[in-house]
């Protein structure tokens, strides 16, 4: 409990600081806020921030490292808070550039937040690098990167070639995107350009539910419904095999899950394109679809590409649907009605399996993870380049 109390106390102090700062500076200016450099609330914020933020950091770091008991922390926190408050108060006078200070402060907070992404990346790489190193000590990298067979064994002598997994990943993701991009994009266009507000107000959230259905439901849907259907009505009549699980099954079902990623985000972006652009095109006698295709979509392109990238990312990272829909067999082939599997699936299965945790069969999960990281990095760089090239900035 004491940590909670400390937390609340600090926040209370900050709130008090806010009011003290405000009234202090107002009275210093003789009650006339116009004589102040900044709005009175900025003086308040200045004090509140100096009181709370350093202390909160202290508490956060403390609760991780726990060098001593909560009482020590409480005392220390109060000292820091008081010091911050005193410092901020001492600087409070009508000429003090409170807004600039507050904004600089906020700006640093913003920078800090964006650094979390970098830190996460570093964390991911670091947490996998070591074990990846261990893996390559036990398994030749040539065989890993260029091997075309994936067959881990308990007793050693596994063949751990990544190529069939890469192929499966690309193939399944491709099909998933081939399903979700057209459906999602058309849905987004319809919602933002054609649909009545009423339809839009319920259809959009409804479609978003698709993103919230646990993937296991999709997996079972693939396994029980879609897989046998594709097998009986397509694969067998076409002579393309009789596998119940296939790239197609997983791709289709994953595509369904990804629809809202494309549709909802794109819809927001399309909706944000200024009406004047649509008017311009309509005024020239273009049909609504021409307006959309030639004016609105190009203007919304960066956002749409972002949405598609997000969908692609989900496709690459998905496990359950692939396991249940596409199976666990790592192989390279062109037949979409054959079972295949993806890198992600194998990362999960090797990590959660029963193999020796220090053996290459388990460690390969880390190498797979890191390789996938590098592959997607490459794809993202290409995407960034493409967006830059085709971006159309309105106004």
């Amino acid at each position: 409990m004491p940590v909670t109390w400390t937390l609340l106390l600090v926040l209370a102090l900050a709130v008090a600081g806010y009011y003290i700062g405000r009234s202090r500076v107002l009275s210093a200016a003789g009650g006339d806020s116009r004589r102040l450099h900044s709005r009175p609330s900025y003086y308040g914020w200045n004090i509140a921030m100096f009181t709370a933020v350093p202390t909160l950091f202290l508490i956060a770091i403390w609760s991780v490292l726990r060098p001593a008991g909560p009482t020590v922390l409480a005392v220390l926190a109060l000292i820091v808070a008081a010091a911050g408050m005193a410092f901020a108060l001492s600087r409070t006078n009508p000429d003090f550039r409170a807004r600039n200070v507050v904004e600089t402060f906020v700006r640093y907070l913003l920078i800090l937040c964006s650094m979390i992404a970098i830190a996460t990346t570093a964390g991911i790489v670091l947490s996998m690098l070591f074990e990846t190193g261990n893996f390559f000590k036990q398994y030749p990298w040539q065989d890993f990167f260029f091997g075309t067979t994936w067959s881990p064994r308990f007793g050693g002598g596994s063949q751990l070639g990544i190529l069939p997994l890469v192929w499966g990943t690309l193939y399944i993701s491709f099909i998933a995107l081939a399903v979700s991009i057209p459906i999602g994009l058309f849905a987004a266009i319809y919602l933002s350009e054609y649909a009545s507000p009423r339809l839009r107000s319920w259809a959009k959230p409804a479609i978003e539910i698709l993103a919230g259905i646990p993937t296991i439901v999709y997996g079972l849907f693939a396994l029980i419904t879609v897989g046998p259907m594709l097998r009986d009505y397509f694969a067998q009549p076409l002579g393309l095999g009789n596998s119940g699980s296939s790239v197609m099954t997983a791709g289709l079902v994953m595509g369904i899950m990804l629809i809202p990623f494309v549709s909802s985000l794109s819809d927001d972006i399309i909706n944000a394109v200024p009406q004047s652009l649509r008017d311009g095109a309509l005024g020239l006698g273009s049909t609504q679809s021409e307006t959309v295709r030639k004016v609105v979509l190009p203007a919304a392109l960066p956002g749409i590409v972002g949405a598609i990238l997000l969908a692609a990312s989900r496709a690459i990272g998905e496990t359950m649907i692939v396991v249940l829909g596409a199976g666990a067999a790592a192989q390279m082939g062109l037949n979409p009605f054959e079972a295949m599997t993806t890198i992600t699936v194998k990362i999960v299965s090797q990590l959660t399996g029963d193999t020796d945790f220090a053996a290459p069969e388990t460690l390969v999960a880390f190498a797979l993870g890191l390789t996938l990281f590098v592959i997607t990095l490459g794809l993202n760089i290409v995407a960034l380049y493409v967006v830059r090239k085709y971006r159309e900035q309105y106004e």
């Binding site: 991780v64 904004e103 913003l110 920078i111 937040c113 964006s114 979390i116 992404a117 996460t120 990346t121 991911i124 670091l126 947490s127 057209p182 459906i183 058309f186 849905a187 266009i189 319809y190 054609y194 959230p205 409804a206 479609i207 978003e208 539910i209 698709l210 993103a211 646990p214 296991i216 849907f221 369904i256 629809i259 809202p260 549709s263 985000l265 819809d267 972006i269 944000a272 200024p274 049909t287 679809s289 960066p302 956002g303 972002g306 949405a307 997000l310 692609a312 690459i316 990272g317 496990t319 999960v348 990590l351 959660t352 993870g369 990281f373 794809l379 993202n380 760089i381 309105y394 106004e395």
Partner: protein
């Protein structure tokens, strides 16, 4: 500039009627109709798929909200429960569930004879199996909470076994029972007989929402209580951390950061993080939060942090796209009246970008709420019976989560768990809807065209 002769091409614009479309217009209109049809088709397909999925979930899971109980008088025999006879709670505590099981068995036997039920081939095992293994534990808890009951005969409401329950939900039939080693036709006939005597009923099942998970032998007792709390705690953490941090990061990158190599790297980095499989975030969470920072295993706080990191890219990508879509003239207008960059962003740009931010939040949270893989490695895919405490301390107690419950239950051998899993999915979706409703409401409020 007088050389401008105009117009250049064909001088006689043919005065076609507005009501008659010419060839080209017909084609364009056909294209328009096709386009529109594609759009409508896309929506209909999505909605149809949603309906199908919802239908499967609902039909599969609605059963878990009803449960079959046997209601018979049970004599809490003092001789067995309190041998010393002084009603000392410590003494009563020593009596194990096994004893209570026997009491129930006797009570059921008695009820059968009292009501004059006779069934061919009914074995003692059939009778004792009739009642869930959870029932003795519940009875024991009841007695421990109120030692006065010892020696009395109470009307107990006892969970029936999963197969009997399944019988009343259509999952088990006489035919399957004949083959099933865990039930028998005689047992089901007994259930029917009890039902005739109003001793057995299928009722609304609150305990599915309030009780914790149960082991593989007691599907009828399993509930999502702990999972709901765990998910709630995790979502709180995600909401409190991911949304502000994500929005803040996007604001910095989109509005303040100088456009240079470094920001390009950050940008690529973030979209790349979105492509990192969720289990890798579990690896990171295990390494960073548990092994390095020393946070406890199986705790919602760690789950929340991992999910936060996982959702951040989604929120950032959506937010950045939304910020990008705000026309620069709005920013100019604010700057022109002497607003600072920060003010122009917070007062004008952000509200306009809100729908996109909220969409990102909805999708990010939906993903976080339904994710199991990252929780695997940080110990949240677990069997947890004890409820976590109130936050913030409760954030550090072991808990499970809704998707974990679904994942676990779909792996269990007893088919009764399939129904439970679908039930948990329903709960999860309701949970998601509740979360989304606010966001959707806000989004509609902020939506406008300019």
């Amino acid at each position: 500039m007088t050389d401008a002769t105009f117009p250049a091409a064909g001088a006689s614009p043919d005065k076609s009627s507005l009501l008659v479309a010419d060839e080209r217009t017909r084609k364009r209109n056909a294209a328009e109709r096709r386009f529109r049809a594609y759009g409508l088709g896309a929506i209909l397909i999505s909605i149809a798929l949603l309906v199908i999925l919802m239908f499967t979930i609902l039909t599969g899971g609605i059963g878990s909200f009803r449960q079959t109980y046997v209601e018979i008088p049970v004599t809490l025999d003092a001789a067995q429960l309190d041998k010393s006879g002084n009603r000392d709670p410590e003494e009563i505590r020593k009596v194990l569930t096994l004893t209570y099981g026997k009491l129930i068995e006797t009570a059921l036997q008695k009820a059968i004879t009292d009501n004059g039920i006779t069934i061919d081939g009914l074995t003692a095992a059939d009778v004792s199996n009739m009642i869930s293994k959870e029932a003795p534990a519940e009875l024991r808890n009841q007695v421990l909470a109120n030692p006065e009951l010892v020696g009395q005969t109470i009307d107990a409401r006892l969970l029936s076994n999963g197969r009997v329950d399944g019988y009343y939900k259509g999952r088990v039939t006489m035919e399957t029972a004949a083959r099933d080693s865990n039930t028998s036709v005689a047992q089901l006939q007994l259930a029917d007989a009890l039902k005739d005597k109003n001793l057995l009923a299928t009722e609304w099942n609150w305990s599915f929402l309030t009780k914790p998970d149960a082991s593989d032998q007691r599907p009828e007792a399993a509930g999502v209580g702990v999972a709901i709390l765990g998910s709630l705690y995790m979502m709180l953490v995600v909401l409190v951390l991911a949304v502000p941090i994500g929005v803040a990061a996007s604001i910095y990158l989109e509005e303040f950061a100088p456009k240079n190599r470094l920001t390009d790297i950050i940008e690529v980095n973030i979209s790349n993080l979105a492509a990192v499989p969720s289990i890798v975030f579990g690896i990171l969470g295990l390494a960073a939060f548990i092994n390095f920072a020393g946070l406890p295993q199986s705790a919602p706080i760690v789950g929340g942090l991992v999910l936060t990191l996982m959702t951040l890219p989604t929120i950032i990508i959506a937010t950045r796209a939304a910020l990008k879509a705000v026309p620069p003239s709005i920013r100019d207008a604010a700057l022109g009246v002497g607003a600072s960059k920060m003010q122009s962003v917070f007062h004008h740009v952000l509200p306009l970008a809100m729908p996109g931010i909220l969409t990102g939040t909805i999708i990010g949270l939906a993903q976080a709420l339904g994710e199991t893989a990252p929780l695997l490695l940080i110990g949240m895919v677990a069997f947890v019976r004890n409820f976590p405490g109130a936050p913030p301390e409760g954030l550090f107690d072991p808990a499970s989560a809704l998707p974990v419950q679904v994942y676990n239950w779909t792996q269990r051998a007893d088919p009764a768990f399939v129904e439970r899993a679908s039930g948990a999915i329903i709960v999860l979706l309701v949970f998601l809807l509740c979360m989304n409703l606010l966001a959707i409401f806000l989004r509609r409020k902020f939506e406008r065209r300019w």
